[in-house]
Symmetry: C2
Subunit: 434 residues, 2 copies
């Protein structure tokens, strides 16, 4: 059983209609609230929906001249971001009942650009692995992935055209893959993280979900002022494919879809190769990523651990204890190794490089088994590189899987352009296809 | 007129006495609270003093076996850190009346190590330049410096042996210099910044104030688990002096004291030289630092600007508007330039390098004129290098000024060892000298 709304306009289209006077922000919000009412009982994507505040904000926007990039566009915010007057539970027992007193910097920037916050979406506990109650819109018996579970499900189902997520290991690209939508994790540190509950300061990255690449670009443009719309005239001659050191973790459904995808690239197919010293280092990258994440999480969540270890899930408690047990010298060495590896890649990989690799090990697993594996994401999160997942693959049963476009540090525009080209050539947004 | 308490034990000494059963944490706290009562009317270092909570926490510590590095040691926390149940005003009109619901990660780590929080200390508005009401303990007509004004004054006056500060441009080293104490800004990102109000994510660094180098080391050891006690057997053969590209901003009193200091180094004196490509880049560093800080502050404080521009000081409002006006492409170029410069320095400066440079342009200016200039700090903040200010210099009128020990990225231990050697050879903590 699925829960998808068809034919909702995307973010660019919504903004265009509002600017043209063919739709008001208030109507746009009301339309989405209708869909939310319809689908939420099955999906459970939201921590809280703020109907009256959203309509009030939309009326205010309707009374103002069009200015920002997302003037009147409804958005959803993952519940590790602070949003004034809304819950800020971070998926945790400890913070149940907390209300934020301010907006995270990125949320304030989205509002400045005209975005209307509909509410807060479910997140795994502090963006780690403890599953939420959210279901996958394509198959309610499956997980939407984590940690940005609610944001991905809300966008995939058509409840909102845009949502905020964060990625520390695979928390944007993986749920985008499982939910058949576009997920974009920009270059590390491109978007302000103030007011977002921290998990691992070397890795935490704010990113977005949308149902098309230009829509994802639009939200990041609104937050950064950059021009990131994909170059529609681009026609890449070669699309380098990189199966990566974790290919042995690909599940049969992915292996089969991926091979078909490589064949489909035809003359554009090429094999991506890193310099040997990078290749060597990448084999160690997943373990390095996991150690840094655990060590930094133990520092970032020191208060939560002290205050109520019994309110934490067993998995998170174990992670924090694992992190605390890593010696100070090993932490220093690990972070030095990460910095060196980032330098090495920045020095040896051409600035305009882009390559394709799977977004996830396979399709969304069953709900009861957790939020899926971030194996195909850890390396790129460690390197801080821009990644965009596009919904191009499917299983025999029609479940979505993503192709991950990764690029050199700072090549966010190049990644989005290739992602958009792939969508135009091979796909369409999954949730519109069904 | 000054306001200094003499002969209070340092942090290591306090911890030693408590561990030896010669002092209880409760007594240690009560002694400090007496001093606070005495001096606070003149110094105005505190936003809030939490007497009963501190005594309660001390009694709890007294009932437990000695474990952490700062078991029972009173500490003060700059009011941009969240401390549960205490004010979190960030020196701002907008946040007047706010109480934090959790501890910043670093505060939780300090408590885990046995530290007792006495209260929150005055900070300039969001750690920018709007002065606080705090006075300099050595001369009440002067500023303690900013932004960590209250923490520096509280340590200098003997109200606490240890305090937390942060530095984005010169907010630890400058007030340490003006207040005649030890200020230590570790390597960028060594200490968790979660729960600290952000100003500029590429630069914000948590650090400490103390009245001796080993005491400063102790607190950073408690937070990181590293072994950072200065090597007391070290005897540097050469102490490279670097007057830096901003030497022309040195005031006459500094020029004269600095020349005498250089002479005093005698055979150990040498001139520090960077590679020519670094030297070239450092000339641009202060401007680059200022642009990055403004651009990132405009993102970090987007909510505060949107919510109540009229509650912000004129200077901060102007800074945020200056930051917003910097184009997205220039922001990217600037941060790329910063990263390249950090790489360059990491590649060309030996890992064990240490050099000496002034901490501030001169002594503490008069209270009415602001919090002093961060000129001698911007470069090192931009590079993210560890810096320690030691109170070795004075004006003809006996006002303190600091010598800044700077080291290669990650050489926190080397910086502290040289700082300690300098103190042993040339100085003693200023506030004990008077």
């Amino acid at each position: 059983m699925s829960a998808l709304s068809k034919n909702t306009p995307g973010a660019l289209e919504t903004a265009r209609l509002i600017a043209a006077g063919q739709l008001t922000a208030t109507q746009a919000v009301q339309q989405r609230l209708e869909i939310v009412k319809d689908l939420e009982p099955n999906l459970k994507a939201w921590v809280s929906i703020h109907e009256s505040e959203a309509i009030e904000a939309a009326q205010m926007i309707d009374s103002m001249p069009v200015s920002g990039k997302i003037h009147g566009v409804p958005i959803a915010i993952k519940d590790i971001f602070a949003v004034k007057g809304m819950p800020w539970h971070c998926g945790s027992e400890l913070w149940k009942g907390r209300t934020a007193e301010f907006d995270a910097g990125s949320v304030a920037l989205a509002r400045r650009a005209g975005g209307i916050v509909l509410g807060k979406t479910e997140t795994t506990e502090f963006a780690f692995y403890q599953p939420t109650r959210t279901r996958n819109p394509h198959d309610l018996s499956r997980t939407p992935g984590g940690s940005s579970s609610g944001s991905a499900a809300a966008v995939a189902s058509g409840m909102v055209p845009l949502a905020f997520g964060t990625q520390t290991s695979g928390s944007i690209i993986r749920p985008a893959s499982f939910c058949g939508i576009v997920g974009f994790k920009p270059s590390f540190d491109l978007i302000e993280t103030g007011g977002v509950a921290p998990l691992s300061r070397s890795l935490d990255t704010v990113g977005v979900f949308a149902r098309s690449v230009p829509d994802a670009s639009l939200l990041v443009e609104a937050l950064t002022g950059l021009n990131l719309q994909p170059d529609a005239s681009a026609n890449p001659t070669k699309l380098p494919v990189y199966r990566s050191p974790v290919w042995d973790q690909a599940e049969p459904e992915l292996v089969s879809a991926w091979s078909a995808f490589e064949e489909g690239l035809a003359a554009k197919f090429s094999v991506h190769k890193f310099a040997p010293e990078i290749e060597l280092a990448l084999a160690e990258a997943p373990d390095l990523h996991a150690r840094i994440m655990a060590a930094e999480a133990a520092e970032a969540l020191a208060y939560e651990y002290a205050e109520g270890p019994e309110t934490l899930s067993e998995a998170l408690r174990a992670e924090l204890e694992k992190g605390s047990a890593i010696s100070a010298d090993e932490r220093l060495r690990d972070r030095q190794a990460m910095r060196s590896l980032r330098h090495l890649v920045e020095g040896l990989v051409p600035r305009n490089a882009v390559w394709l690799t799977p977004s996830s090990t396979g399709p969304a697993p069953l709900f009861e088994t957790g939020t899926g594996s971030p194996s195909f994401n850890r390396i790129w999160s460690l390197l801080g590189l821009p990644c965009c997942s596009v919904p191009l693959l499917q299983t025999h049963d029609g479940l979505p899987m993503g192709v991950q476009v990764v690029g050199a540090m700072g090549n966010d525009g190049g990644v989005l352009t290739v992602a958009d080209w792939l969508m135009a050539r091979f796909g369409q947004c999954w949730s519109q296809q069904n």
